[in-house]
Amino acid sequence: MKAFSHSLISCCLLGSILLATTDSIAQVECSDSVPSPLLPPSEVIAEDHPGDAGGAIIVRWKLSPDEAKRITGYEILRSTSPTGEFSSVGFAATGANRYVDANTEDSLTYYYKVVAVDVNKNASESELSPPARSSAQWFNFHLLNLLIIGGLICGAVIYFIAHAKKGKKLFLRRIAGLEAVDEAIGRATEMGRPILFIPGILDMDDVQTIAGITILGRVAKTIAQYETKLNVPTSRSIVMSTAMETVKEAYISAGRADAYSDDFVHYVTDEQFGYVAAVDGIMVRERPATCFYIGAFFAESLIMAETGNSIGAIQIAGTAMPAQLPFFVAACDYTLIGEELFAASAYLSGEPKQLGSLKGQDVGKIIAMSAIVIGAALETIFAISGSSLFGSLAELMHKLFSIVAG
């Protein structure tokens, strides 16, 4: 019985091996056979890229039926004549069904072919596309929704500025970080120590730096009145020049032109960590009583704020870099979060015109909050009920508040 079972197992094993061998032979035979010809992409369409300044044509095609099996990508060929020589202008990865040729001349007509390429470098050419010509558009309709919403918000800002000019009183919520500015300057004055102001590490083309310099102007005016020493190390030359002018004007308007010195604002270096090393050195050596970090910051934010914390300075920070906000919140006494940074200058100036612009921002917030609530409600109702009406409305909301790439 035992011998029989052993024979049976042996037979089964032998059978399995034979079957497997036959399978692999069949596979080898199959792979050795001539592969079917590679099928090309079809329905190639070339047309002017919409909403641009010209110089670009968008090419679209229907994927090759062999896409899933063998295709590694699509080569885009271009010619200015249907019978002329075609040259390669780019390559689209597998799965892509569009390519933007951003190197065209508006005065020329172009013809395109799309070539499917497989793993063995076999190529299969599509039919010729219809002629296409690039041109500049007078309006980018992809941004129409942005224009409408932006126009509404800007209109509201201008309306409330005009409203405030008439002398209407506007309510502003208290911003703790800005309320503490006078206290922080007063403390430095009492201690006889300088005030350090860091306007971020980006150039004047960044709106956070602009916000930082405007706040510097307001702060410098108070500093001039208190006759406290100010130190503004900068990491960009243009920021240095602008900050110098701003501080000078602040001292003049405070009636303390005699107390101003060009040495208050100085250039250090454009290099991020070289700048941090210099600022940390200033902090440790001069031990400022108050440190302001207002502008755009990256990894250096925590290094500076922790050094400031270690010397016991009052620290007020403000940035619109979301990744750096937690660091400032952890290390500083007060932090202006996002929009508070941009509101600070208006808040400190107390001018009705500037305050009116803050009120206009609230209209933008109302629009954003309404869109979020309505959009979430529509999506939820659609998910529960499956009603196509709510689905369409949710889709409409989505389109209204998103920017579509061309």
Partner: protein, 217 residues
């Protein structure tokens, strides 16, 4: 006049940038490129303003033997060393090529010094976290708990100690939920506020209401 011209220039450039965003056609797209090029040229030229300012202050300090003047000696020496090595001993335009004195200083002095400053961040993160995560208030306690779960959920031991729970309720899933829902919601609220703040500030500057940076009050 000294104040009007900067305001006028700001308004023109600001409006051209806004218009070309919606109207990509000539002449606005040409102006946009032109203004961008001008800014780059001005920024490149302005570097000399910064360099001269740095040298002036440092040399003054050394000359007058001001407070901590030896640091200024190091600054000036470093500036002269890299400038002379780059201009005169590194093959002209090929100064960045491997093996030149400029490259040697960059790779062996500048890069390690920068990396050292960056590495300090690790210690500062620890000290800042220690203060931020002290459970003194209700909000700080919430922050502490969220931070604790997120950190634990990011390492394999997080799932190991919660493997008795159904798959969707394990620590890595809780971490994902914290990061994707409350964290993202909070961050987006901040981003919306920032976008509105940028619009408002830009309008104030372009319309000449905010004049601090153009030399006004």
């Amino acid at each position: 006049m000294r104040r009007q011209i900067p305001l006028l220039l700001t308004a023109i450039v600001g409006f051209v940038y806004i218009i070309q965003f919606f109207i990509p056609h000539r002449p606005f797209n040409i102006f946009e490129h032109l203004f961008t090029d001008w800014f780059l040229i001005i920024a490149a030229c302005a570097i000399w303003l910064g360099v001269l300012n740095l040298l002036k202050l440092s040399l003054e300090k050394v000359y007058k033997r001001g407070k901590d003047w030896p640091y200024s000696v190091v600054t000036v020496a470093g500036f002269l060393l890299i400038t002379i090595a780059g201009f005169f001993f590194s093959g002209g335009r090929q100064f960045q090529n491997p093996g030149t004195p400029f490259d040697y200083i960059y790779v062996n002095i500048f890069t390690p010094l920068s990396a050292t400053m960056f590495a300090l961040l690790a210690f500062f993160v620890a000290s800042a976290s220690y203060r931020a995560f002290r459970a003194r208030t209700r909000e700080a306690t919430l922050l502490l708990l969220a931070g604790f779960f997120v950190m634990l959920g990011r390492v394999p031991v997080g799932d190991l100690i919660t493997q008795w729970l159904p798959v969707g309720y394990r620590l890595s899933n809780l971490t994902d939920w914290i990061m994707n829902v409350p964290q993202t919601a909070g961050q987006r609220a901040i981003m919306i506020g920032i976008a509105l703040g940028i619009m408002s500030t830009s309008l104030r500057v372009i319309l000449g209401i905010e004049r601090t940076i153009t030399g006004g009050e």
